[in-house]
């Protein structure tokens, strides 16, 4: 397996959407390729880091404004 072929399967590997046979082939490539090993581990980390950090908190008061807007709309006919 070449690095390009490995890269084409990177997402499926990360998302655990590969067959056991393909997984074994990918693992075999990883054993001999530091570049792909680093690409895999740092891409995984990238996803994990974005998933685990809440970057945007919802402003307080927004829920109340939304609720009021929905109620107002409802009074007009719902």
């Amino acid at each position: 397996m070449t690095c390009t072929e490995f890269l084409a399967m990177l997402d499926d590997l990360i998302d655990d959407a590969v067959t056991p046979q393909l997984r074994a082939e990918l693992q075999e490539h990883l054993h001999g390729c530091d570049h792909c090993e680093v690409t895999l581990s740092t891409t995984r980390k990238t996803i994990q880091i974005y998933r685990s950090h809440e970057l945007y908190d919802m402003p307080s008061g927004l829920r109340e404004r939304l609720h009021a807007a929905i109620m107002a709309r409802c009074k007009k006919g719902c």
Binding site: D11, T39, L66
Partner: protein, 214 residues
């Protein structure tokens, strides 16, 4: 009063949202409040990720929930209520983004031809726990700045798929893209983010720290 069964019939229990939607259709506004509470954070986050503007994200969230409320009769029930809602929010977000860019077209196809990130270049390994080198505020700033730099078409896919946790199929349905198109954008988005984050997270050489005892 009989409730409408989802198309899956007896195979799967109906999604809890189905009952809430039915209650709203029957005139129970408090059931809509429940749906809002359930999804408001996610919707706000998606809108903020796409528009990159707080004011726009607030408007998008409000407009999306109001629009969904008004159009609830059009909701078919063959997709999840949440993905239907997200689709409305994504469309609203792209509209706002377009306005901010003074009428410039913003489409999901924009910038997908870029070569950046298609082949990893910075292959230095990262610190085992790179977050520890930054305060929470610094880290959040780095993550925001980095995702901001992605083309909108990549940002949307990454946000829905990786941040929000939709499946590839749900992301495709939500955005009106094919599954292969979602997959190719997702790979490019992940690799571009990885490349950009490498600047901050790559392993620091031992010699750069002075005064160490090692």
């Amino acid at each position: 009063m009989a409730t409408i069964q989802p198309t899956a019939g007896e195979l799967e229990p109906p999604h809890p949202d189905v009952a809430l939607v039915e209650r709203v259709r029957g005139g129970d506004v408090s059931a809509y409040d429940e749906l809002v509470r359930k999804y408001e954070r996610q919707l706000f986050r998606i809108a903020q990720h796409i528009t990159q503007n707080r004011e726009d994200a607030e408007d998008v969230m409000q407009d999306a929930f109001l629009k969904a409320y008004e159009k609830l009769e059009q909701f078919q029930g063959n997709s999840k209520f949440y993905t239907w809602l997200v689709r409305i929010a994504v469309n609203e977000s792209l509209m706002r983004l377009r306005k901010r860019r003074s009428g410039r077209m913003v489409s999901l196809d924009e910038d997908v031809e870029t070569e950046e990130g298609s082949v990893p270049r910075d292959l230095a390994d990262w610190d085992p726990d790179p977050e520890q080198n930054y305060s929470q505020t610094e880290l959040a700033e780095i993550l925001r700045k980095t995702i901001q730099g992605l083309p909108p078409g990549f940002r949307v896919v990454f946000t829905l798929r990786d941040v929000d946790g939709l499946s590839t199929e749900e992301t495709a349905e939500t955005l009106g893209l094919s599954v292969p198109a979602v997959k190719s954008r997702l790979l490019r988005a992940r690799l571009q983010l990885r490349e950009r984050l490498s600047r901050y997270f790559k392993r620091r050489k031992a010699s750069t720290t002075s005064g160490g005892s090692k």
